[in-house]
Symmetry: C2
Subunit: 337 residues, 2 copies
Amino acid sequence: MKRPTIADIAQRAGVSKGAVSYALNGQPGVSEATRQRIMAIAREIGFNPNSAARALSGASAKAVGLTLCRPARILSIEPFFMGLISGFESELAARSYALTLQVVSTPENEVEVYRRWWGERRVDGVFVTDMRAGDVRIPVLQELQLPAVVIGGPGDTGRIAQIWSDDAGAVAEAVRYLVALGHRRIARVSGLPDLLHTQTRTRAFTEVCTSLGLESAVTVPSDSTGEEGGRATRRLLINADRPTAIVYDNDVMAVAGLAVAQEMGLAVPADLSIVAWDDSPLCSLVHPPLTALSRDIAEYGAHAARQLLAAIAGEKVTDVEAGTAHLTPRGSTAPPS
Amino acid sequence: MKRPTIADIAQRAGVSKGAVSYALNGQPGVSEATRQRIMAIAREIGFNPNSAARALSGASAKAVGLTLCRPARILSIEPFFMGLISGFESELAARSYALTLQVVSTPENEVEVYRRWWGERRVDGVFVTDMRAGDVRIPVLQELQLPAVVIGGPGDTGRIAQIWSDDAGAVAEAVRYLVALGHRRIARVSGLPDLLHTQTRTRAFTEVCTSLGLESAVTVPSDSTGEEGGRATRRLLINADRPTAIVYDNDVMAVAGLAVAQEMGLAVPADLSIVAWDDSPLCSLVHPPLTALSRDIAEYGAHAARQLLAAIAGEKVTDVEAGTAHLTPRGSTAPPS
DNA sequence: GGAATTTACTGAACCGGATAAGTTCCAGAC
DNA sequence: GTCTGGAACTTATCCGGTTCAGTAAATTCC
């Protein structure tokens, strides 16, 4: 089956290719009657503009890119990214933008992918996640002048717009809530320590715990996996002066922590309170359901997509703080016994 | 920054555009010396072929598509797809193919996306998941002659290749194991009943239970979500002659089922044995860790990607059964008390 | 040694759109 | 009645590759 082109439409309508192009793109240069006639023919024969041809003649590729820098094992269970992707799609699909995905193994690898995408003109812009301090990707994106939006910050991104949620405020809310319940020994199991948002959260956690004069407030670094989160929990709970509450940097680690507590014969929430970050369905799935710092990740993603599309359109895009997480108390938190 | 093109290379090397194209694509028509010189220059100036131009001049788009027909809420927690995507990527990245993702809401919508992708020449082929009986997508793909691989079957896909794992064998293995432990009342919580693989599993489950002469062997339909899986479990467990073991069609529902059992004061595995399908890290995360029907989903995806690339290359691709799931016993199964 | 073939290229057409630069044609102004 | 200006087109060029037809030089063959 042959793909219909504007030449086919032009022939049917008895006009030139140029006229068809003007008509379909809402450009001036054709009468309203002709435009309607052309559009009707296009619809009738199921015309879709060849994205390659369009991209080649200087217009946009109508695609944006996302690189995921995680091994398969971790990705498969990280609900955050799928939520984010769903959010992206809600905006992108409406404007007929495609999302191009690439799984990579290192940030250096990510840079290579950006360079390739740029050279291939494959994408009009990219989403950047998992920002690190002094991230190597930022200078490259600036050099290539590839539109981008950094998700998670705030950090030093130069002219590149970023969007983040108020992690410091959220962590403070969680700690204050636990303290109000009577907890005095609170621990936190964090994600990868070199990620920017981990650092933000760690700083905020330490600050708020100090200001509230807590007995102990350690942060144990982990890597966002359930496995490592469980190990970190075990290390915390074998101490004599074990914490009475633990805040986890994501839901997967929180679930693993819950399992470790059960395995060690500790009752949740009687002996240990648990707070999860990022409230995926996972949190309400387990027993007891986990108190979580919820935020609308899909909306977060949609917001980021709007930002990126604006940046691609050449509009001035400013940094925004969006979607502050707020505490959703469930069965995993209670006063310490 | 200007993107380097083959014209730039041609100028530097003092040859024509055509010669450069032949050299870079390993085509005959240039001497080995010239080829080396051209390749060196290309590497030096960081040349990447413009994918749009390449796609336009008849060559492939170097991209494949995947549509996901799930609401955001479900997708975010479904580890299966991320595992599959990781598997795709391992093959695609090696051959510089991009993966284009689109989240849609209905199968009809999926058909539209296929038509658009085809018209736009955006992808060279597509992965098809979640096959239903009499799936509307198959005739469209045949009509468009868009290379495709169906993941999950076997079904009636005409000339389109498919890949599936031996679900019937796996479900039999699980049931036989439970029966060997002494269970006589086994239930199953399934995924969406109109999906082909759900039907295959249901048929196999009923058959093996009948052949083993079990007291009761109901399948309760669900929709793969934890929420619905939990509800189905609750409905099963309130009966007087409740099952002593439940097999779930995915890991998320199994985890939800575990939570419901705990909530109802039933001990797992003493009062209820649980078997999960698809062994994501989730299964080893909870307490007790879940016995699961494991298969290597990433390898499954990689296999599918190899099939699709072969189909795109015009090779004859045959249906294959790959990666049979096998039982991985963990703490959630034991003889009934 | 001259014709035939092969090698190593060049030049130009082509893919399917976007778009700048004409070309008609007609209404309105003077 | 001529001139101007704009609407409604057409024509031609460009984007950056691929590929085919052509060509000159080198090599092979009898």
